[in-house]
Symmetry: C2
Subunit: 190 residues, 2 copies
């Protein structure tokens, strides 16, 4: 169902600007949040930049573990993206379902190089190691990561290119505001 991607084309998983899910794990703790503000930062080795607000539990787990995963969700998951974006994992600590994966019944699978779980049903995944830059983390909530492994759903990404035709439910989603999204649309060559 998914293929591992050569690292030199990993940037293409984010190049078109999808809204993403950030997953994290440290010890027994794990979390997931939605993030609209991410982008590629370099080709080789691939790096990415992402904005992670100070108040998020995700930030605590990134800083503790030094790693995180970027999961690229699709249209079929849009409602879940809003749910995990509107709730805090910190508030679940000590409850019976003590993390958002349990609370929202989200299936995951293991990453290859980091502890963070990867979200099943997404169409691409980038496993990242934090590049510590304390000044910009503190001043701008801006986090940098090196992509150490990447994977994609071969139904919609192969040979370095997206191909969503016939798979509308797997199209990436692009948030505007307040749960209003646009799906990625038609491919063309200029």
């Amino acid at each position: 169902m998914f293929n591992s991607i050569m690292l030199d084309v990993a940037y293409r998983l984010l190049n078109h600007g999808p809204t993403v899910l950030v997953t994290t794990a440290h010890g027994e703790q794990c979390n997931i949040m939605a993030a609209a503000w991410s982008m590629p930062l370099d080709f080789d080795p691939p790096k990415i930049a992402i904005v992670i607000d100070k108040k998020t539990y995700t930030r605590e787990l990134i800083e503790a573990s030094g790693s995180f995963a970027i999961n690229v969700p699709c249209c079929a998951q849009a409602e879940m993206v809003v749910q995990v974006g509107a709730s805090s994992g910190r508030e679940l600590l000590g409850k019976e379902a003590d993390n958002k994966f349990a609370a929202f019944d989200l299936p995951t699978f293991a990453a290859s190089k980091i502890a963070a779980p990867l979200v099943a049903g997404c169409v691409a995944w980038l496993e990242c190691k934090l590049i510590a830059e304390p000044h910009i983390q503190d001043a701008y909530d801006l986090f940098l990561g090196e992509v150490v492994a990447a994977h994609a759903d071969e139904r919609v990404f192969s040979n370095g290119h997206w191909h969503f035709d016939g798979h509308d439910e797997l199209r990436t989603i692009h948030h505007v505001a307040g749960g209003n999204f646009m799906a990625i649309g038609e491919a063309f060559k200029a």
Copy 2:
């Protein structure tokens, strides 16, 4: 044809991840380049982050002028985006058409708060003042800007939301690699 946008919703012009054009001016010099790697960085005051390679003439003009504009192009302009992305303004210096606007016959109009020209036919524009962060500029080619004015084509963006229905030629474009783009697609609420 275009409306000025309240700064507190300016992030929505970039939130869905379009490929953009960066325009710059300093003294008699001006330039335009394509950039797929940009994102919002904050809401209020709005800030953005963008990757600008060391070898670009655009970078020289940003560092000299302390400002730049982000223009959001549309499907009708995709060929031009590839053209300005594949050529260097530095190589035109001293020629009869001594900048890319002249060489490619690109109509522009004046920005309200910065010197950089804005590209006519785009669907949104963000006027930015450089937030100088020399370490990340040098180490990662990563530039931050504060958005000091923003505008959008009222046919496709008004009341804080995009509405592309009936205007397919004005849809934003999202680059994958090598001139392969996807247009932004259907809007939906999750």
